[in-house]
Symmetry: D2
Subunit: 472 residues, 4 copies
C-alpha cells in the first residue's frame, strides 16, 4: 500500500499481461525497445524521490496517507485550478488515470439507481488510489455498422457486452478502440460508448478490471518508431505513447468491480462524465500547445527578421486570438465550476465544450497560419547528423545563418519543433486527436446545445421582438 517506487511500478507491469505490437507478442514490456520511451513517460509520474516533485505529485488523503494527486477530489475553484496546474506536469499516463474523476462525478447519480454500483465505484477508487495504480479510459467500441444499434450488428460482439451473468460476476466480450496508454496501466476502466436503449441491456456495462485479467489482450500502435533523435524530433522523441486496441475475450469480472450491468438509463451518464473530464484535459493541452504555437510563430519569424511584415503580424495575431480564447475558456470553466450533491466540483460543462469545440474546429487553420509564416525549411532542414558532419556541417552553419544574435542551432531546433508538432507523424496525431479526442465535433455541439442557457437567450430575443408571451 502507499506510493510505488519507479522500480515497483516497473515490476508491477511484469504481471503476465498479453501485449502485441508490430506483429510480436511482447512478454516483458519493461525491456522491450518499443516501450522504452513510453515507460520513460510513465515513470515521470512516479518521481516521488525529488522533494519538489513529491509536493507537486502527492497529497495527504483523509486517512493521512500520501497519495498521487491525480486522485485528489476537487471541492473548490482553487482545487480545480490546482488540478489544472498538476495536469501540466503529469504525463499522459497520469492524465488518463483521471478516469476516476469521471467515475466519482457520477457516483451520486448512480447511487440513486443502484447503491451497490456506487459503493463499487468508491471502493475501486480507494483501491486504485491506495495502491498508487494507473488506469485507462476504456470507452470506444468497435461499433461496426454505424447505421445500426449495438444489438443489431452482424456480430453481436461489436460493442462490448455481457455474455454471461453468474452469481459472482459477469463475463464480458468485445473490443475497445483507441485506448491511450492501455498497456501501461494497471486497471482498465470500461464504460459504454454511448446511451443504450431497451433491448440493449447487455451492452449497458461498466467495470474496472486488471490489465492482466485472463482474456484481456492489447494490440498496440504508436505514431512513432521506437527511437527518435531528440534534436530532430524535439517533441515526439519524448512523448510517444501507444494506443491500444483492448480485447475482452470472455473476461470474468467479479460483481464488486461492476459499475453497471443492464440499467440502460445510466449508460449515457458515464460517457458524458468521462467526456467532460477528457475534454477538460484536452482543453488544457490545447491551451498549452496553442501558446507554444504563438511562441514558435514569433521565434521563427524573428529569426528571419520578418516579424514586422503585415502578413506575418496578421498570422501571429490570429494565433494569439486562438490561444487566448482557449486559455480564457479553461479559466472560466474552473471559475464557474459545478458541484455534485456530495460536494465534488467539476469544470463548467458549457465552458469546457465551447473551449474544446473552438479549439478543435479551428486547429487546422491555426496550423496553417503557423506553417504559412514558417516557410519551407520546416520540411527540408538537414538533420542533426548532417549538422555534426565535418563537411556538411560547415555549409549548414554558413547558410542557415540569418542574422547576428540568432544561433543556428536554436533556429534549427525551432524549425524542427514546428515540423514535429505540425508537419510530421506527431503533428498528424495532433490534427486527428484535436478533432476526435473526447468525442468529435458533433458530440461537443450536442453538449453546447444541451447546456447553453437557451431560456435567457430566448427571453432577450422575445423582449427585443416586442413579444409578450401569455405564460411569461
Amino acid at each position: 500500500m502507499g506510493l510505488m517506487t519507479k522500480e515497483q511500478y516497473l515490476a508491477s507491469l511484469r504481471d503476465g499481461r498479453v501485449l502485441y505490437w508490430d506483429g510480436e507478442r511482447i512478454d516483458d514490456m519493461t525491456i522491450h525497445p518499443n516501450f522504452r520511451v513510453p515507460l520513460e513517460v510513465a515513470l515521470r509520474d512516479y518521481e516521488y524521490d525529488e522533494p519538489e516533485r513529491r509536493d507537486v505529485l502527492t497529497y495527504k488523503t483523509e486517512d493521512g496517507e500520501l497519495a498521487h494527486r491525480v486522485y485528489q477530489i476537487p471541492t473548490s475553484e482553487q482545487e480545480l485550478l490546482d488540478r489544472m496546474r498538476l495536469a501540466t506536469e503529469l504525463s499522459i499516463v497520469g492524465g488518463v488515470t483521471g478516469v476516476f474523476m469521471a467515475l466519482m462525478s457520477v457516483r451520486d447519480e448512480v447511487a440513486a439507481v443502484n447503491p451497490r454500483y456506487a459503493e463499487n465505484i468508491e471502493s475501486m477508487y480507494h483501491l486504485a488510489r491506495d495502491r498508487d495504480l494507473r488506469a485507462a479510459e476504456v470507452i470506444t467500441d468497435a461499433k461496426g455498422d454505424r447505421s445500426r444499434r449495438a444489438n443489431d450488428q452482424d456480430d453481436p460482439d461489436l460493442y462490448v457486452r455481457i455474455v454471461e451473468r453468474k452469481s459472482d460476476g459477469i463475463v464480458v466480450r468485445g473490443a475497445k478502440f483507441h485506448i491511450t496508454a492501455a498497456a501501461l496501466v494497471h486497471e482498465q476502466v470500461v464504460m459504454p460508448t454511448k446511451s443504450m436503449r431497451q433491448g440493449e441491456e447487455d451492452y449497458a456495462v461498466a467495470f474496472s478490471i486488471p490489465t492482466n485479467a485472463p482474456g484481456v489482450k492489447i494490440i498496440n500502435r504508436s505514431f512513432a518508431p521506437p527511437e527518435l533523435n531528440p534534436f530532430d524530433y524535439p517533441a515526439s522523441a519524448h512523448h510517444s505513447i501507444p494506443e491500444g486496441m483492448v480485447i475482452f475475450d470472455d473476461v470474468f469480472v467479479p460483481w464488486e468491480r461492476v459499475f453497471l450491468a443492464g440499467e440502460t438509463q445510466l449508460s449515457g451518464v458515464f460517457a458524458r462524465s468521462l467526456g467532460l473530464w477528457e475534454r477538460t484535459l484536452g482543453l488544457l493541452e490545447a491551451a498549452e500547445r496553442a501558446e507554444m504555437m504563438v511562441g514558435l510563430a514569433h521565434l521563427v519569424t524573428e529569426h528571419q527578421g520578418k516579424e514586422r511584415k503585415p502578413e506575418v503580424m496578421e498570422a501571429i495575431s490570429e494565433l494569439i486570438c486562438y490561444a487566448h480564447v482557449i486559455r480564457t475558456a479553461l479559466e472560466a470553466a474552473c471559475r464557474r465550476y459545478e458541484k455534485t450533491p456530495s460536494g465534488m466540483v467539476h469544470p463548467n460543462i458549457l465552458d469546457v465544450n465551447v473551449g474544446k469545440y473552438f479549439f478543435a474546429a479551428n486547429y487546422h487553420v491555426a496550423v496553417r497560419n503557423l506553417q504559412d509564416i514558417a516557410g519551407g525549411l520546416v520540411l527540408t532542414l538537414p538533420k542533426e547528423a548532417d549538422l555534426r558532419h565535418p563537411e556538411a556541417g560547415v555549409y549548414i552553419r554558413k547558410y542557415l545563418h540569418a542574422k547576428a544574435g540568432v544561433e543556428v542551432e536554436e533556429r534549427m531546433r525551432v524549425l524542427n519543433l514546428i515540423r514535429d508538432l505540425t508537419a510530421d507523424a506527431y503533428g498528424g496525431w495532433h490534427l486527428v486527436t484535436s478533432l476526435q479526442a473526447g468525442g468529435g465535433l458533433i458530440a461537443q455541439r450536442i453538449m453546447m446545445n444541451r447546456t447553453y442557457d437557451m431560456r435567457r437567450a430566448v427571453d432577450k430575443a422575445l423582449a427585443a421582438a416586442g413579444v409578450a408571451r401569455p405564460d411569461a
Copy 2:
C-alpha cells in the same frame, strides 16, 4: 447644477447649435421629426424620476451629490462589472459619454508630460459630471490620402489642426467623421486620430468644446428614415441615432479646455485609451447581440418545427460558441482588470481586444448562420398593415400558421427582428460597425500583438525545442 430633468435636457439642446440633415438646416432639433426617435433614445438616460431607474442611473459623488453613473470611476472588479451592467441599460448617448473614462484613464500619463493638461481633464470631468452633460467621442479625421501623413496632404485641414495659438487659447480647423450622437450631446471631446510625429505638432491636439461653440457645425446622417413601424422594425424603430460629420471652422478653444496642443508623444495615448473603452462597450453590445441571435435562431427554427435537424443544430451550436466566447472575454476583461497609478481600473486590454477581434472577424459568418436557418420569410414577410387588412390578414394568419402553440404574430415579430437586425438598413449598419467601430480589425491585431505575453509563449516554445539560451 446637479441632475437635469428631461425638460432641462431638451431645453439645453436649444442653444443655437448648427445642424444639417437631409439638406436642411435644422433650427430647433427638439421639434424636428428627424430627431424624434434619437431624442426618445437620449431621454432614457434622464429617467431619474422613476425610483428604480434612479438607482440604476445615479451614484453619490465624493461631494455627496447625485451624479449620473456614467461618470463613476471604477476602482475594483465589482465596480467594473457594475459599469457593464449599467451599460446594458444606457442609451448610446450615455454610452459615448463614457469618453470621460478614456480621458481619466490617461490623466496620470498626461500629467507626467504637462500637469496643466491633466488639471484640465479633471476639471472638464467635474464640470460635465456636475452639470449632467453628455459628450461625444470626436476622433476620426477626414484623413485624405492614406499614404501620406497629416502634414503632407493636399489640404492641410484634412486632419484637425491648430491654426492659431493665442494667449487665451487655440483656434482649430478641420472635420471629424463618424461621430455618433454628436448632435445630441453638450460637449465635443476631440482627440487625435492616431500617433503624430515630429513636424505634426499642430495635429497633436485634444480638447473639449461645447456643441454650440461658434464654428462648430454638424452634418447628420442616419441609417433609418424618421418613422418606422415598430412591428415591422422591432429594433431600428427604437434605436436610430444620427452619426455626425463635425466641422470645426476656426473654432476658438480656451486653454482651460485644452488637453493637448503640440506634444506629439502624447497623441497616440488618447486614441489608445479611447479605443479600449470604445471596444469594451462594443464587446458588451456584441455579447448582448450575439446572445439575442442565439435566441432568435432557436425561436425561428422551433416555430417551424425544425430545431432538431442536424444542420440547424450545427448552425445554432456555432452561434452558441460565438456568443459564449464573446461573453467570456468580457467577463475575463473585468476580472483581469488593470489599474492606473491613481487607482482607477480599466478592463484588461488583451481580453478586450481578443474579444472584440473575435466578434468582428466572425460576425458576418454568424449572420450567415442565422440567415441560413431562418429562411426566405425574413425578406418576404408581409407588413403589419397587411396583417391588419381585413382580407389580406386572413390569408396571412392562415398560411403563416406553422403548428399549434406558435402565435402567428410572435412568428412575424421574430422574423421581422431577424430581418431588422441582419438583413435591412440597421443590419447593414451592424455589419459595418462590427468591423469599423473602435478601430477596425488591423487596430485590434496591433493591440493583441502589443499586449500578449509573448515572453511566456516564447519560453514555452524554447523549452519544448530544447533550447537553453545563454541569457535565460
Copy 3:
C-alpha cells in the same frame, strides 16, 4: 399575337388582378407609386423599338415570328452562352420567365409518365411565347411544421393541393411564398416544392394559371420604399421588385393547363429542374456582382491612396479569387452542357451547383472583405441633399477631398453603392437571397453529392490504397 409594346404590357396588367401591398388593395397597379420602379424594371424587357435592344431581346421562332429571346430553347454551347449574355441584359421579370426553360427541360421525362402533361407544357410554352407573356416561378409552399409531411399538417392547405377534381379541370387551394415579381407577370407557373410520397397525391400538382384567375391573390412586399434617391441609392433606386405571397383560394385550373395532378413520382422532377435554371441565373448574377465588388474594392481604396497596403491587397485578392471561381464555374457549366433526349441543352448540373454553393457559402465573408477595407464612410456619408446644400455642401466637398484626380462625387457614389449593395436594405436582401434563392445550402449540397462522379473518385482512392476489388 407577337411582341407587345410597352403600352400593351401596361394595359395587360389592368386585368382585375387582386393585389395587396402595405395594407392597401391596389386596383390599378400601373398608376400606383409602389409599382413605379418595379414597372420601370419590367418595361426594360419590352424595349423592342430601339434597334440594338431588339436584336438582343428577340429571335425568330420556327414559325418565322419574332419572339422574346427568353423563350429561345438552347441547343448548343453557344446558344447557352448567348442565353447567359442575354440574362445580363434582362430584368428580373424577364429572368423569372425562364421558368419555361425548366418546364421544357423536363418535358421528355414527363411525357414518359403522361403524354398529356407534356403536351400541355408545350402548348403553354407556345402560348406564352407567342403572346409575349411574362411568368413567375411559383414553387415554395407555406410548409407549416417542417417535421411533418405535406399531408400531416394542422391545416391541410399548408402545401398547395387539389381540393377537387372535375371533368374539365382541378380546383386548387394553398399559398406560395417568396414569389419574385408575381404581381408583374401574366402567368403563375406552379410546381410542387419538393418530392411527394404515396398519400400525398393531392400535393403533387403543377400548372400554369393567369394572374387574374378568380381566387388568385397576391400580397406584396419589397425591401425598398417607393421612392429612393438614385445618388444615395445607386442600385436599389433602380432595382426594387416586389416579392409576392401568392394565394390560391379555390382556383379552378382547366386540364389543358395542368402539368401534374397526382403522379407523386414526378413531383421532385419539376423542382430539381427549376432549381437548376434558378441557380444558373443566380450564378450569373453572382458572377456579375462579385466582379463589381472587386471593382468597388479597388476604387474605394484607390480613392484613399491605400490600395498598396498589404491588408488591402489581401482583401482584394480574396475578392478576386472569389469572383474568378464563380465566373469560371459559370463558363464551365455552359461548356460542359447536358442534353435532353429532344435536343435541348441545359447547363452542367454539377458545375452550377458547385458554383452556386461556393458563391453562397462564402458571400458573407466576401462582403466582410469589402466592408473591412471600405471604412466607416460607407455608413456615415452625408446624403446628396446635404452635398447640394449651399453651406453643408462646401464642407462636404472640402473634407471628402482625398487627393488630386479623385472627384468627390465619384467617391461618394462609390461609397453609396457599397452601402446600397452590402450594408443597407438592398444589401440585406442580397445576403439572404445569396443563401436562400434556388433552394438553400442544403439543397445545393444534396445536388453536388448526387451529381459528382463518385465512381471516378473512389477508383482513384482504391488504386492509391492498393485495393484490388474482386468486382472491379
Copy 4:
C-alpha cells in the same frame, strides 16, 4: 544521344556527385538504401520498353528523334491538355524537369535584352532533351535576414552570387534550399529567387550546371525513413523523394551555360515563369489529390454505414466543392492559354494562380473535413504485422468487421491511406508544400492582383455607381 535505358540512367548517376544524407557522405547512391525508393520513383520515367508507356512518355522531335515528352513544347490547347495528362503519369523527377518549359517561356523576353542568353537557353534545352537528362528547379536562396536585401546581408553569400567573372565563364557561390530531387537529376537549373535591383547585379544570375560539377554539393533530407511497409504506408512507401540543400562552393560555369549574369531587370522574369509552371503542376497534383480525398471520404464512411448522416454529407459536399473548383480552374487555365511571340503556349496565369491559391488557402480545412468523418482509427489502426500475426490477427479481423460486403483489408488500406496522406509524415509534407510550393500564399495573391482584369471590374462598378468619368 537519344533515350536512356534505366541502366544508363543509373550509371549516369555514378558520376562523382557529392551527396550527404543523415550524416553520411554517399559515394554510390545507386546502391544506398536511402535512395532505393527515390530511384524506383525516378526510373518510372525511363520505362520506355513497355510499348504503351513509350507512347505516353515520348514524342518525336523536329529532328525526327524520340525524346521524353516532358520536353515537348505545347503550341495549342490540346497540347497543353496532353501535357497535363502526361504529368499525372510522370514521377516528381520528371515533373521538376519541366523547368525547361519555364526557360523556354521566357526565351523571347530574354532575347530582347541579350540574345546570347536566349541562345544558351535554347541550346541547353536541346542538349538536355537530346541526352534525355533530368533537371532540378534550383531557385530558393538561403535569404538570411528577410528585412534586408541580397547585397546587405551579414554574409554576402546568403543569396547565390557571382564571385568572379572570367573570360570563359563565371564563378558562383551560395546555397539553394528546398531543391526537390536535386540528387537524382543531371542538371541543376539555377535562377534568382526574386527581382533584384541596382547594386545587386552579382545576384542576378541564372545558369545550368551538371550535378557533378566541382563545388556542387547536395545535403539531402526526406520526410520518410528508407523503408516503409506499403500496406501501412500505401502512399509514402512509393513516393519518398529527397529535398536537397544545394551548395555552390565556387562553382565555375562556362558562358554557354549562363542565362543571366547581371541584368537585374530580367531577374524577376525567370522566377515568375518558373512560378507559373510550378503552380500549374501543383494545381494538377492538387486536383488529383482532392479527388482522391473525396473518394476516401466516401469509402471510409460507406465502410461504416454512415455515408447518409447529414454531417457526413456536409463534409463530403465541402470536399466535392473543393475538388471540383480546383479541377475546373486547371481546365480553364488550359482552355484560356496564353501565347509567347514564338508560338509556345502556357496556361492562363490568372486561372493558375486563382486555382492554386484556392487550393492552398483551403487545404487544411479540407484535411479537417476528411479527418472529422474518418474517425480515430486513422491513428490507432494496428499494423499489417499485427494483422498477419496468428493471435492478434484474429481479433483484428473480428473487430474491424463493419458490415457484410466490406473487406477488413480494404477498410484498413483506406484508413492507412488517409493517415498516410493527411496525418503522418507524408501528410505533414503535403500540408506545408500545399502552402509553400510555388511561392506561398503571398506570391499567389500578388499574381492575382497583377493579372486580374481590373479595368473591366472597375467599369462595372462605375457604371453601377452612376459615374461617368470624363476620360471614359
